[in-house]
């Protein structure tokens, strides 16, 4: 197990700096005849959407034609998100107006799903709209592995979360929900998936042939469902991940993270059910898997955590003798 994860980390984990030459990516993309679409799902993002559009349009369409089309797909913003986006020439859509015959559900997953119908690309890149320090690397880093390697189908972003560290080694953490919920769950049930450093990041690029075959929870569970479904169908080899350095965004309250975790847990348990794993739980793993980074190299940290249980004290003869107690039998 560990050697497979280590190998995957070696071959399928990248740093955006490897893809600084955008011209080379454009040439490779054209050689393979790929069309690439970018989707920005939005809900009340007027403060950050303008900059994302200006920078992506300038750097990835005008300067280097890496992106063939991009669209803002909105869940019904009440602020000026769509107005600002349109003023910089973005194609804007209301999720409700796409495929109206299937109805309208509110949630980010809905926008991502409808983008498959609306956009024409062979690869669709999804980038959240709340990134304050937006930069072309947020696109190039996650699409490059798919352009360069035909076996990679799904590439996730991960970020260096600024933490104080005094040596060259730093722990590479996901968000709070990843560390508290997802990583323990994956360690128990799908250990190979722990190699994804930030499974919940909102920036990822996927081939159409994959997107069209997987279901989309419309709420918090969409990223988790994708990972589980893609893993089940295509295995760990289909994934890649790219370090995009820092991502600055608004922080969510613990309350909001609780809601998010609840949604994710529903998705996760639904998957266990549909995979027929509920009454056939695998051998419970006792290895907990985290990561540390040294420079741009990542390695897995495994820790054995065994939850040994002691029996009720009343079952111990010495205890019964000392306190003159007898073991009462249940009927």
């Amino acid at each position: 197990m560990s050697s497979k994860i280590d190998k995957w980390l070696e071959t399928n984990t990248f740093h955006h700096g490897e893809f600084w030459d955008i011209l080379k990516l454009v040439e490779e993309k054209e050689k393979k005849g790929l069309k690439i679409s970018l989707c920005i799902p939005t809900l009340n993002e007027e403060k950050t959407i303008g900059k994302e559009i200006v920078i992506f349009k300038s750097e990835l369409m005008e300067r280097y034609p890496l992106i063939d089309e991009f669209a803002v797909i909105d869940s019904g913003s009440e602020d000026k998100t769509l107005q600002v986006a349109a003023s910089f020439g973005a194609d804007t859509y209301l999720a409700a107006d796409i495929l109206p015959e299937v109805g309208d559900k509110r949630g980010k997953g809905e926008n991502l799903w409808k983008a498959i119908y609306q956009l024409k690309g062979d690869i669709i890149i999804y980038v959240d709209a709340d990134i304050k320090n937006i930069h072309p690397r947020f696109v190039t880093g996650i699409v490059a592995p798919l352009i360069n390697n035909d076996t990679i189908k799904y590439c996730k972003a991960f970020y260096d979360r600024p933490m104080a560290y005094s040596t060259g080694i730093r722990s590479s953490g996901g968000g709070r929900v990843t560390e508290i919920l997802i990583r323990p769950l994956f360690s128990l049930f799908f250990p190979e998936l722990t190699s994804l450093i930030q499974p919940l990041s909102g920036e990822f690029a996927v081939r159409r042939e994959v997107l069209e075959k997987i279901p989309f929870p419309i709420g918090y569970g969409v990223e988790t469902a994708h990972i589980l479904d893609v893993y089940r169908e295509w295995g760990l080899e289909a994934f890649a991940q790219c370090d995009l350095d820092q991502r600055i965004h608004r922080n969510q309250s613990t309350n909001a993270l609780g809601k998010m975790s609840f949604g994710i847990l529903q998705t996760f348990l639904n998957r266990l059910k549909s995979y027929g794993m509920v009454d056939k739980l695998p051998e419970m793993a006792t290895i907990y898997r985290q990561f540390q980074a040294e420079g741009n190299r990542y390695e897995q940290l495994t820790r054995e955590i065994v939850e040994y249980e002691r029996p009720p004290m009343i079952t111990i003869p010495a205890y019964r003798e000392k306190f003159g107690r007898s073991e009462t039998k249940k009927d």
Binding site: T48, G50, F88
Partner: protein, 389 residues
């Protein structure tokens, strides 16, 4: 065939309209530059960005000099002349400040966006702008991002460039993000000084009349304020910052004043400097404190006349854009160009607010007029229409 000044003026409005096609390129450059912190003396990362852009645009002689300036040449068709277009790279903001830019439909906000991320963005976008407008100059255009411009940097970047540059410069244009309409063609006389008062360790605090460094510095300030200054041509003494002492009742042993003198009157800076030296020396002798006066930066008054062809051309260009010229002398790069006899002006590209505050902002729409103005001026200089007869 060389363009007449009339045909240049006639092309300003069509150019302004056509320039909206470079909006995203220009604004992306401005924001990406703005998000790289560049306090004076720490401009290297911004310079790397700029020179990378020069490389992507296929410019020539791309280099970073010993002062950290980034430069490139946009070659002309028959390059007998060289026109310098420069913009300062440094900002007043410390590295730790949040440099994130935000854009609404009509404005961009963020520290240093007007001073001078937009100016720099125009510099790096200029090659693409000219390509799209189908304009090629006879002259070489030297694009220069200047380091160490502000405060204690004291124009270190442009000084180094002008001291060591081998190419003869026909004219210079210093580009600032804000304000559109700015027309600077004189360098204002300026002196930045620091006065430090410290009490010797053997100072007798118990003797009659003993006073601390704060009181002594106050006396110095009072004496400086008593110097008679004529209102025309304008002269100004700005007491910028004062520091001293530690607490309510602790005798202060040191105090420090930073100030700036600006004057449009020739010789006034030297005269005031001598008066201030006299004041500090006299106070030192009377008080037994140690008073040190140091000059951080100094430049003399000078400049072009209002009727100089380059100034006249700029006035006509602004008139065509229906922008009222705001004539103001400069303490920036312009003063160095003028000191070396290179006919030069400083112009601004758009309207903006809260300069050098965290919420500094610029208006997007007027930028295209600002760029059309820059192009028209370059065409005028290139066509020999700004040469003195």
């Amino acid at each position: 065939m060389a363009m007449t000044f009339e045909s240049i003026l006639a092309s300003i409005h069509p150019n302004r309209e056509a320039l909206s096609s470079v909006r995203e390129l220009l604004l992306a450059n401005a924001m990406m530059i703005g998000e790289i912190p560049a306090p004076t003396g720490h401009e290297a990362e911004r310079i790397t960005f700029i020179t990378n852009r020069f490389t992507e645009d296929g410019l020539q002689n791309i280099s970073i000099d010993e002062a950290g300036n980034g430069m490139a040449i946009l070659p002309g068709k028959s390059p007998q002349k060289n026109i310098l277009v420069c913009a300062h790279v440094d900002t007043v903001f410390h590295q730790s400040v949040d440099h994130a830019m935000s854009v609404t439909g009509t404005t961009i906000m963020g520290p240093g966006i007007g001073d001078n991320s937009l100016g720099l963005a125009s510099l790096v976008t200029l090659p693409e702008i000219l390509k799209r407008l189908g304009i090629r100059f006879d002259s070489n255009i030297i694009l220069l991002g200047c380091t160490r411009s502000l405060g204690r940097g004291d124009l270190g970047g442009i000084r180094f460039f002008l001291d060591n540059n081998k190419l003869p410069l026909q004219a210079g244009i210093s580009v600032e993000g804000i304000q559109l309409g700015r027309l600077s063609y004189t360098g204002i006389g300026m002196l930045r000084g620091e006065i430090s008062v410290s009490m010797p360790s053997a100072y007798d605090w118990a003797r009659f009349g003993a006073s601390g460094s704060v009181a002594i510095l106050t006396k110095v300030i009072q004496r400086i304020m008593e110097i008679p200054i004529s209102s025309q041509p304008p002269t100004q003494i700005i007491f910028g910052s004062i520091n001293g002492g530690t607490s309510f009742g602790t005798r202060p042993t040191s105090a420090n004043l930073r100030f700036e003198i600006r004057s449009e009157k020739e010789g006034m800076i030297t005269e005031l400097k001598e008066r201030i030296i006299d004041i500090t020396e006299e106070t030192e002798n009377l008080s037994e404190a140690e008073i040190e006066f140091s000059v951080v930066a100094e430049r003399q008054t000078g400049g072009l006349g209002y009727g100089h062809p380059i100034v006249r051309s700029m006035r006509k260009i602004l008139e065509t854009l229906e922008v009222k010229p705001r004539v103001e002398p400069s303490v920036g790069e312009l003063s160095q160009l003028i000191e070396r006899g290179i006919p030069s002006i400083t112009l601004g590209l758009t309207r903006g607010e809260n300069k050098n505050e965290f919420n500094e902002s610029i208006d997007i729409r007027p930028i295209f007029g600002g760029l059309a103005q820059l192009i028209a001026l370059l065409q005028s200089i290139d066509g020999g229409l700004c040469d003195e007869q």
